[in-house]
């Protein structure tokens, strides 16, 4: 119990902060923050598996998040039959060509000795394949994008339940991680960071500009939800009754029947949004707990010990007969898959997919700050980092505004410096997060909740 005391205290403080937001701002805001904290926590769990367990630096979190989001669109949106009829055959042919290219390249790599001839063959296959794809896909893409461009203009998805897409998001991210891992994992740490960062940029720019896939920067809105809609709740009698029961005391204060109805309506509207967010929070909590149990079990299993051995001394581990390259690739895929799940969860929570919003600042570097601040190699620490940093990220502006007003209280309202500072309050979040990271790196490099190694 004493071992876990600091964890319990840290989590209680965090929960208290969120509850304070609920009391002082509103419960809806508090739950939004809580949900996003949970999504961030899943992302940090993924990054922590790579960095904390294995010492692999992955600055490509943004790419996996975006792929997870793409999975939601491809799985849950209803298919667009017109688009399929004009361009479906061509796009499927292209997919077949790509698969054919991959398999023929593999075949050549396996069956022909390393030589110039092999290189030319592979280059030939790639060039011919790309030209074929360009010829076949070009007109089809134009036709698909011409199908009611204001609303669809893309192939649509499969129309399956949205929860299914969380798994698919993980699989997508795992697939990308496999490719990235094969290409880049041999590199030294800081090169790996740069390479993964740039590959993630490539992935996002493809999602942004291939409109036939997921409408690109035109965004997909109105995605399906695993939770009820506010509108439905506001008209369903059981929900109104429930709200009535909860707020009987407040309702009894009303003077007339019409006034009571007005108050009730307002309460129902507020409660519906809180209820939907609670549903999401429940689902996210389930995911976080499942992942936490699995990662915790893995950390203390022989496999986890092996990963730590590889992290701490690669040569020694490989001398003991551990396949370092294979294990690195495996853990890279595992961590990225978790990040992909988080990406799918986030898009499901928002109900919209906006490829333009995927920026390395928000989806790579902030996540990394979470991992470092929370505690590398410790899953509880990683989750806490997700909570703390996301909370600061959101609440930085109100906090900054409060302090600006406090320190410039003696200045008149028209003072230029005061106005300028108040206008730039949103940017204090960068300052807060940056200074937080620098301080933690300097004075507590192992994070708020450090890694704990159980010795037997």
């Amino acid at each position: 119990m004493r071992n876990y005391l600091n964890i319990i205290i840290a989590y209680s403080i965090m929960m208290l902060l969120i509850i304070l937001v609920g009391i002082f701002q509103s419960w809806s805001i508090a739950l939004t923050i809580f949900n996003y904290c949970m999504i961030s926590a899943v992302m940090t769990l993924g990054a922590n598996i790579q960095w904390g367990y294995a010492g692999l630096i992955n600055f490509g979190i943004m790419g996996y998040t975006a792929l997870g989001g793409l999975a939601v669109v491809l799985v849950s949106v209803a298919p667009v039959p017109e688009a399929w009829s004009v361009g479906g055959v061509n796009m499927m042919t292209c997919l077949a060509i790509i698969i054919l290219m991959i398999f023929s390249t593999r075949y050549i790599l396996k069956n022909i000795q390393k030589s110039n001839k092999r290189n030319y063959l592979i280059a030939g296959i790639i060039i011919v394949g790309l030209i074929l794809i360009k010829i076949i896909a070009g007109p089809a893409i134009e036709q698909i994008e011409a199908v009611d461009p204001a609303k669809t203009g893309f192939l649509g998805g499969l129309g399956l339940p949205v929860l299914f897409s969380w798994i698919v998001g993980g699989l997508f991210a795992a697939g990308l991680a496999f490719i990235v891992g094969k290409v880049a994992l041999g590199l030294r740490a800081d090169y790996l960071a740069i390479a993964t960062l740039l590959i993630a940029e490539i992935v996002v720019s493809i999602i942004k500009h291939e409109d036939w896939l997921a409408r690109g920067v035109k965004n997909v809105i109105g995605l399906k939800r695993p939770a009820p809609y506010e509108i439905d709740l506001q008209t369903s009698p059981w929900f109104i009754n429930l709200v009535e029961k909860f707020h009987l005391a407040k309702l009894d204060l009303a003077n007339s029947l019409s006034e009571r109805q007005d108050i009730l309506n307002q309460l129902v509207i507020d409660a519906s949004s809180v209820y939907v967010k609670l549903c999401f929070a429940g689902m996210f909590l389930v995911v976080v707990i499942i992942l936490l149990i699995i990662t915790q079990k893995a950390l203390y299993s022989p496999w986890g010990r092996m990963m730590r051995a590889i992290r701490d001394n690669e040569e020694a581990a490989s001398a003991m007969g551990k396949n370092v390259v294979k294990q690195h690739l495996f853990i890279f895929i595992l961590g990225s898959a978790i990040v992909g799940i988080a990406g799918a969860m986030m898009v499901t929570n928002d109900g919209l997919f906006t490829p333009g919003s995927y920026r390395p600042m928000r989806y790579t570097f902030v996540i990394w700050v979470m991992v470092i601040v929370g505690g590398t190699g410790n899953n509880f620490g990683a989750i806490l980092g997700g909570f703390v940093v996301w909370f600061l990220w959101v609440e930085a502006a109100p906090i900054a505004l409060f302090f600006i007003n406090l320190f410039t209280a003696h200045l008149p309202e028209t003072n230029e410096i005061k106005i300028h500072l108040i206008n730039s309050a949103p940017y204090f979040r960068f300052l807060l997060v940056g200074i937080g990271l620098l301080l933690i790196m300097r004075f507590r490099p192992q994070g708020i909740i450090p890694e704990k190694i159980i010795k037997q």
């Binding site: 630096i57 290409v183 880049a184 590199l187 030294r188 740490a189 800081d190 090169y191 960071a193 740069i194 390479a195 960062l197 740039l198 590959i199 940029e201 490539i202 720019s205 493809i206 942004k208 500009h209 600042m361 570097f365 990394w368 700050v369 470092i372 500072l421 206008n423 730039s424 940017y427 204090f428 979040r429 960068f430 300052l431 997060v433 940056g434 200074i435 990271l437 620098l438 790196m441 300097r442 490099p445």
Partner: protein
């Protein structure tokens, strides 16, 4: 005649813009490579440091304009370069003393320093946005064009016009001057030689009596000069927007690694490789081919290899290819 027209088209739309963009990238890439070679970490704050220097140039330009100083037909911003560099170097030395020095003395692994530079990136970005805001700012004054398309057409009687913006000329000339001075400094002076020695083998350099403090100080000063000038040239040519500078960091990294990180010549060259690849692969060759091919063969598509949306993706793909096949870069850089 058609041949000349075709060449002019190519010059106007690809070669001159690529040279300009390449120069801007090259300055940034040398900055990255110097920090990597001598201080031994990948500096993720590169883009924002360039932005920081440029911010001062913008502010000084506004100040100079308000008190009526200008530089004739050249942009006032050129006059502000020394002041901006001074502020930039002050900031860099402050950062080095408060942040990087501790890890350097402790001999932390490069990854940790890279992580710290992420922290510096956040702080720098915050300071920039708090001081000047995230909006788009143009601070170019003076003559905008050296040759206008219409004038060129009248002068030569060709069907195609050639436009050279003054910023393009300034960028290329200033880059050549700065890079020439820097290479002279690195190769011919005693301090420069000691810096290269320190970069090649730190222990040996220390043994032969090279003062590490002085090397680090000079490195930050040169880095400050390169970052500020690179940033100002980019800002003059396009416009000043903090967000864009952060994005530019990525092709700059690509240029530094493609050229061979730790090797300033490689970085200089890498900048142009990236710029030319980006522009040549996304240019629509239809107009160029119309002049060269007989009428029967005239292309009806745009003859564009990739859409301009993928400009950045190209430089990253080049980087990935280089990393797979020649990890030390085109010119021999540090071992990975």
């Amino acid at each position: 005649m058609d041949l000349i027209n075709a060449v002019i088209v190519l010059l106007n739309y690809t070669i001159i813009p690529a040279l300009t963009y390449g120069s801007q990238l090259a300055l940034g890439a040398i900055f990255v490579t110097l920090i990597y070679g001598i201080l031994r970490f990948a500096n993720f704050a590169t883009g924002d440091m360039m932005s920081f220097g440029t911010m001062f140039a913008v502010l000084f330009t506004y100040y100079f304009q308000s008190i009526g100083i200008n530089f004739g037909f050249l942009p006032t911003a050129l006059l502000t370069i020394p002041f901006a560099i001074f502020m930039m170097i002050l900031y860099m030395l402050l950062i080095d003393q408060t942040v990087f020095k501790y890890y350097r003395i402790k001999k932390s692994p490069p990854v940790q320093l890279a992580m710290v530079s992420v922290g510096v990136m956040f702080v720098t970005q915050a300071i920039i946005r708090i001081i000047i805001g995230p909006t788009d700012r143009r601070f170019l004054d003076g003559e905008k064009f050296i040759i206008k398309a219409t004038e060129f057409k009248e002068m030569t009687g060709l069907a195609e016009g050639l436009t050279i913006k003054s910023t393009q000329m300034i960028t290329i000339v200033v880059t050549i001057i700065v890079v020439a001075i820097m290479f002279w400094f690195l190769n011919k002076t005693k301090t420069g030689t000691s810096m290269r020695a320190y970069s090649d083998n730190e222990d040996l350099a220390l043994l032969s009596g090279i003062d590490p403090k002085k090397v680090v100080l000079i490195t930050w000063i040169i880095a400050g000069i390169l970052a500020t000038i690179g940033g100002i040239l980019y800002g003059l040519d396009k416009s000043y927007r903090p967000f864009v500078y952060f994005n530019n960091m990525l092709p700059i990294f690509a240029a530094a690694i493609v050229g061979g990180i730790g090797n300033p010549y490689g970085a200089f060259f890498g900048g142009y490789v990236i710029a030319f690849a980006e522009i040549f692969l996304t240019y629509a060759y239809k107009r160029f081919l119309v002049y060269l091919l007989p009428e029967s063969l005239e292309p009806n598509s745009l003859m564009q290899l990739l859409s301009t949306d993928y400009k950045f993706a190209i430089s990253f793909s080049i980087l990935v290819i280089v990393l797979i096949f020649r990890p030390s870069g085109i010119f021999e850089g540090k071992r990975i």
